[in-house]
Symmetry: C2
Amino acid sequence: MTHNDAPGSKIPMVVIKRLPVYQRYLSELQKKEVERISSGELAAKIGITASQLRHDLSCFGNFGQQGYGYKVDDLLFEVNKILGLDHNIYMVLIGAGNLGRAVLSYPNFLSRGFIFKAAFDQKQPPVNLNIEGILVQPVRELESYLKEQLIDIGVITTPAANAQEIADILVAGGVRGIWNFAPISLKTPENVVVEHVHISESLLVLSYQLCHKGFGRLPVSY
Amino acid sequence: MTHNDAPGSKIPMVVIKRLPVYQRYLSELQKKEVERISSGELAAKIGITASQLRHDLSCFGNFGQQGYGYKVDDLLFEVNKILGLDHNIYMVLIGAGNLGRAVLSYPNFLSRGFIFKAAFDQKQPPVNLNIEGILVQPVRELESYLKEQLIDIGVITTPAANAQEIADILVAGGVRGIWNFAPISLKTPENVVVEHVHISESLLVLSYQLCHKGFGRLPVSY
């Protein structure tokens, strides 16, 4: 893979996908009140090389100093800004079944500025049903809700059969980001960003590693 | 990133993580009864270059023919074999709350050979409680269960506070793969493979894309 690493040029998706990993480790270091970390130490935690790490970060600007490493607070601040975590992001969730409830209850969304404003379900929810303090409304209210509220991200945790219809309502309502847990590819306009969560992908990676571990046949390198 | 791409050498994790994506697209093509696909077409679907795709696959052997492309059935068969999907993989799940129930109900596990044998929960489950046909047992039975059954993968969907204790019981019971949904890093021996599912990572990737879309500042390249 080749790319130009000057800030402002195209950033490879593989680099962007590592940003949340940096964010997680830096948050952990900050919690432990670690002040400074070398690129070698941080890279080792993440399972990449120090030069990969420096290269990744150089896509976004100049951080750290030769021979000094990174100030944890400063680098986390920058990574958060790059990820858009320096401001609140408003979300609605559609599909309040087991998966939807699990997502609503997932810890640490709020601390990163992700705020669930409302949840919707196909079934008529009991009056005033709250999950984690979020009111569950009937899905027929979604369209009018979106006319009144500015929502950044719609989270789809419905069965596959309902997901496209919900995506269409979200897009018509001005939502520009969809976090899709339904096992179906959504058709959306170009100006809408869809992140599809394929939960089973990491299970296949686990299966691969179990299958090839101990045989010395296809060891993994990071 | 540099690596030696001769079969039998170390395979970069980034390549392994793309295998489930190949698997998914090839399965879709097979369902649509597509017989053959060029590396260019398949790569475009996945969002990488044709040379990356050929390079990825060359890590595992020689598939496809110059100017002819890949036979979908054959390549899927090979990818399934590489991923260890050519035989059944037996799993138990611990933590039958919303997330656990969502994972147990997740479609397409069975068709890929992943078989849930049992589920366990901290709370005393009602007698004969079944989720998707899987009996939920009290977690104190886990240790003795593992003495009697050969289990490949333990799926942890408990709160973070219980996850390490459960991991210890799984490891002591001979389980060599852990699929961890709890937001905590597990300590396990070297011969145990742990895949940690960080659900929020893709939300951060979505946030990044929303934040930089339309500004033309940090466009994504694949």
